[in-house]
């Protein structure tokens, strides 16, 4: 499978099955295209002789043949056979999302957790539940050494003493059980102070700081319960936090909606405010919400991603480089095929735990009765539902099987598939279109960097 595209001054050819990326001249671009749509080398060359020099075309043909013989172009799809027995593969649990607070001190308009409550009551996770969750994880993690605990909410700083107790408990098991815990935490920043900052900088592998960008954008979507904006409250705290952390292992993380489609300005605003690790992502919301991203927004949003890609390169030139999460790509040492086939691992490797100890496939399914998988006392009891997640892979989804981006997104988000189509094996088309553009931009930036080096 080939995907080829032109961005700015560059022709890029992606060979999907080998994972190879090629930057090519116009002649090669056209020849590869004709071969891809079914022409033989001879037919394609004959056709292009009207446009290009024959001798040069022969050179291109030789280069293409060489790459094909090396398995770097028009590589066969040998992966589908790998997934034949996918449902029967042995799996372990390696990550938990602990909902330590089903409560929040902000009232964000787009919150999928309904202001922290997840369609239920306001609640804080007691330590006994967190402890059982850690024990459950260790017991079901097999030989996996690296384990992840994400403190999530609602707002996890509303239950921070419990977070600390949980970290200490997990750390106390590491040596004996030969495990290494990586803790992460997502916060809106309202309760950040010197004490919890010091603790997080010591123990949290990554911290996600929620901020949407420009003040007027942030304040509109992320008000306090009394209706005031929260930007002025949280920004100084985030800046102090990041400085204390040495600009490492964090993200300022925003959401853009139909109301700020010029989101590249929000990303650049965050960069201008001194943040170097930035993630700003599209809202996922039902069509009837007035802030939802709509199909007719896609052209504009794709232009925004390209604009951002160019701006990011300009910032780097001006020594104001920043990292944009969705433009990160590792071409040489990226994930293996097994990872790319299986995706996020929700329901299998990754589970969410509610304050009362219920287990769900991920944070986005919390509160939807049919997705209740079990609890921290009894473990997984709804194995039928878990099997539905076990079977999720890019070849199980018709739309993904044919898509060139399948090894970059791994079949997308199961919660999005379910929420839009009631089917874990469906795809959320708006998300797919934006993901594809992001991958194109990420590869373009990488190609530019590599060719300059």
């Amino acid at each position: 499978m080939i995907h080829q595209y032109k961005m700015q001054d560059m022709n890029i050819v992606m060979d999907i099955n080998s994972g190879s990326i090629h930057v090519v001249d116009d002649m090669s671009y056209d020849l590869i295209h004709d071969l891809d749509v079914g022409a033989s080398m001879e037919e394609a060359m004959n056709k292009l002789e009207a446009k290009y020099d024959k001798e040069l075309l022969t050179q291109v043909g030789d280069e293409i043949n060489k790459l094909m013989s090396e398995g770097l172009l028009f590589a066969k799809d040998d992966y589908e056979q790998v997934v034949v027995d996918f449902k029967n593969r042995s799996t372990v649990v390696k990550a938990l999302c602990l909902h330590v607070a089903h409560d929040c001190n902000l009232a964000c308009t787009y919150c999928f957790a309904s202001e922290g409550e997840y369609h239920g009551d306001r609640d804080l996770m007691p330590f006994e539940v967190a402890k059982k969750a850690i024990d459950f994880l260790v017991a079901h993690s097999g030989n996996r050494r690296n384990l992840e605990i994400d403190f999530f909410g609602g707002e996890p700083l509303m239950n921070f003493e419990m977070v600390k107790e949980t970290v200490h408990y997990a750390r106390s098991l590491e040596q004996e059980k030969n495990k290494h815990f990586r803790f992460t935490l997502t916060t809106n920043g309202v309760l950040l102070n010197d004490d919890n900052t010091a603790f997080m900088n010591e123990h949290m592998h990554n911290v996600v700081l929620s901020v949407d960008g420009r003040k007027e954008i942030h304040d509109k979507m992320r008000p306090t319960p009394n209706g005031k904006g929260s930007y002025d409250l949280i920004m100084p705290k985030f800046k102090a936090f990041v400085e204390a952390r040495g600009q490492k292992n964090y993200y300022v993380r925003g959401t853009f909606t139909h109301d700020n489609m010029d989101f590249s300005e929000d990303v650049l605003h965050l960069a201008d405010e001194g943040f170097e690790q930035i993630s700003v992502e599209p809202v996922v919301a039902p069509d009837e919400m007035n802030y939802a991203i709509k199909e007719e927004d896609l052209t504009y949003l794709k232009d925004q991603y390209e604009k951002l890609a160019l701006a990011k390169m300009d910032y780097k030139e001006s020594h104001k480089d920043f990292n944009f999460f969705h433009f990160m790509i590792d071409l040489s040492q990226g994930p293996c095929v097994a990872k790319r086939l299986a995706g996020c691992g929700s329901g299998i490797e990754y589970l969410a735990v509610t304050p009362t100890g219920d287990l769900y496939p991920c944070h986005q399914f919390v509160g939807i009765d049919e997705f209740l998988l079990g609890n921290v006392d009894q473990g997984i009891t709804n194995t039928l539902k878990q099997d539905a997640f076990r079977g999720c892979n890019v070849y199980a989804k018709d739309a993904c099987r044919k898509c060139w981006a399948k090894f970059y997104c791994s079949g997308g988000c199961s919660a999005n598939s379910f929420n839009f189509h009631g089917d874990l094996l469906a795809t959320y088309e708006i998300g797919c279109e934006l993901e594809k553009k992001r991958v194109e931009c990420a590869i373009y930036i990488k190609a530019k960097e590599m060719l300059v080096e």
């Binding site: 990554n206 999460f325 990226g334 293996c336």
Partner: protein
């Protein structure tokens, strides 16, 4: 080559041999929480290096 510059000579199929150890980060734990982005992650398997 004069006409085609290959950015990465790593063949994805090779990862079938040693891949799948699962020590890598869960994709949703890093920042996203609403999307699935795997291609940007790094492999943590020493055998793959």
């Amino acid at each position: 080559m004069k006409h085609i510059k290959t950015l990465n000579a790593t063949v994805l199929k090779e990862t079938l041999k040693h891949g799948g150890c699962g020590e890598c980060q869960t994709s949703c734990q890093s920042a996203c929480k609403t999307s699935c982005t795997v291609g940007n992650q790094s492999c943590e398997n020493e055998k793959m290096r």
